[in-house]
Amino acid sequence: MNQERKRLDPRRPFVLSPAGLRRIILGATGGFDASLLAAPAHTPAAKPLRLKGDPAGYLLVAAHSQRGMLDAHAHQAIAAAALLASPQQAVAVLVFGGLNEDLRAYGADLVAVLPGADEQGFAPEQELASLCEFVTRYAPAHVFMPDNDIGDGDLGRRLAVHLEAEVATHVVELKPGAVAMYWQGGAALARGPMPLVVLIAPDVVETGLPFSGAGETVAPPAAQAPPGRYQNRGLREIAASALALEEADFIVAAGNGVADIPTLEAVAAAFGAAVGASRVAVDEGKFTRDKQIGATGKTVSASTYLAVGISGAVQHLQGIKACRHVIAINSDASAPITKRADLSVVGDAQEVMTALLAELAQRNWPDTARESV
C-alpha cells in the first residue's frame, strides 16, 4: 500500500517569481529544469500578432482623443473590434485629434490620425465627411465607437443616420454577430444581430488582450466638407472649485498626512483643481463628507489626481480607478499609493506643498489661467 502512494518530488520543475519565490510547475514531472530559470518568468513576452496575412476585410473604430490620448472608453472600443474580428479582418482606427500613444496593445492594425479635430473642436459636417471617406475606403463590416459625451456618440448617430444604416446605441453586451442593449430605461435587455454602427457603453469590454495589433500608420481621410451651418465658439471652463468632484478634471486630495489644510487649498487653487479627501481626513472633520473619495465616498475620473499624505488603502484606490495620472506625495516610500501612482514624491507633505506654491509663484504664472471663462 505504502509503496503505491504518489509522492511529491521536492525537486519538481519550478521557476522563480519576481518576488524570488519558488513557483512549482503543475503537471510537469522530472527534476529541476535549468532552462526555466534562464528565462525569468516576469519578463513579458512580446505578444503575437492577431492578424494573419493580408487582411480580407475590415472593422472600423473611430474616436476622439484628448490631449493626444484616447481614454479608456475608446480603448475598449478598439479592443472590442479586435476581439470580434476574424483572423483575416483588420482593425482600422480613425482618431480625431492628435495621438501620442501606441494603440497596438489594444489591437489596432491600421491607425489614421486627424490631428486638427480633437474634442475641443466642433465641426460635425467635416468630421462626418472624414468618417464617411474612411468608411468608403475600407467598406467595414461594422463601425465601433464609444458612446460618450465628447463627440463620439454624436458622430456615430450622425453617421448612422447619414448612411441610413442600422445602429445600436449604449451597447452593453457584444458577442460575435450579436449585441445587446438596455431598453425601457434599463428594465429590458434587447438582443439582436450586430448592426453596421455599434456605439458601445463604457466598461463592457476588457482591454487586456493576449495579442497585439500591427499598428501601421495610414493616411487620414482628406475629405473637405464645405463650410456648414455649425460654428464653434470655443470652450468655456468652469472654475474647478465650483464643480462636483465627479466632474472635475484635476483633483488635489488630502489624507491623514496633511495637517495644514489652507496650504493644500492654496495648491488646489493654483492648479485650478477641486479638493478631495480620504476617509480619515473626513472623519477628523477637516473636510465635509461630500469631499470623501473612495468606496464609501465618491468615484472620480479626473485626468490628474494629486494625492497628498494618502496611504492608498484599497477602499480609497477604488474611487480613483478611472484617474489617468496619479501623483503621490508621501513620507513613506513603501505606501501602497506608490504602486498606483505614476509619480511618487517621497517627502514631507507640508514641505513639498510649500515648495510647489513657491515654485508656482516664482514663475509668475497666472493662477487664473484655467479659470478664465
Binding site: 445602429v167 428594465a187 487586456g208 515648495a355
Partner: protein
Amino acid sequence: MMPPQLKIAALVSVGRNPASGAPRAARNDVLALDAALALAPEVSVLHAGDAAPALYDYLAYGAANVEVLPLPAGADALAPLAARVAGYDLILCGQRAEAGQGSGTLPYRLAKALNMPVVSAALEITLLGDEAEIVQFLPKGQRRVVRVSLPAVIALHPLAPRAPRYVYASLRAGRLLSAPALVAAPLPASPWQSEPAVKKPQRLKPLETRQGHARLLGAIATESKGGALVREGSAAEKARAILDYLRTNRLIEF
C-alpha cells in the same frame, strides 16, 4: 426680444419612473419644454402616440396644451412628427427617451428628414436673430459654445440647469388636443428581441487559450506599473519633478 414670428416646437414623450416603472413625464423632455417656454411664450408641444395620462404632467410644467399625433401601433413616429414640425424654426426635445428604445437617434433622424442642423447635449440656448447659440455639455467641467443657423433641431442634455415648476392649476387649465391622423410609415420588422433585464450583461473578453503553467504565470504576473519614485533632493526639486511631470503630460497649460 425675439421676433414674434419664430415658431418653436417641443417634442415630448411618455417617460418611465426608473424605480417603479410607472409612466410619467420624461425628465429630459420636461427640460426641453421648459427651455422652449423660456424662449417663446407660445410653444407647440407635440407627442406622437396615444393620449396617455402621463402627458397631463406636461400641462402642469407649463404647456398650454399638448397636441397628440395619433400613431398606429408599430408605426414610426418620425414621419408624422416631421410632417407636423415642417416650417418650424426651432425644435427642442430631450436627448434620450426614458421609455422605449431610448437610443437617442430621433433628433438626428428628424434633422435629416427636415434637412436641418442638429445639436445635442444642449444646456443653455440663446436666440440671436436667425442663429441659436448653444452651450453644450462636455465631461470634466467643460462647456462648449456653438452657434447654429435656424431652423434647427436641438436636443437638451439631462443636466441642463433648469428648474421646471409643477403647477397644478395649469394642469387643470390645459388640455390634450388630438390632431387628425397622418399617414405613418410602418416600422420594418424589428430584429430586436427584448427580455426582462435580470441577468447582468457579459463583458467581452479574450478567450483563455493558455494552459496550466502559462495561465498560472499570467495570474501571478502583476502588470505593476508603479511609476517613477523621487526620493532624493530638496523639497524644491521634488516640487519641480511634479511640475515637470504635469507639463510633459500636458496636464497644465502654464
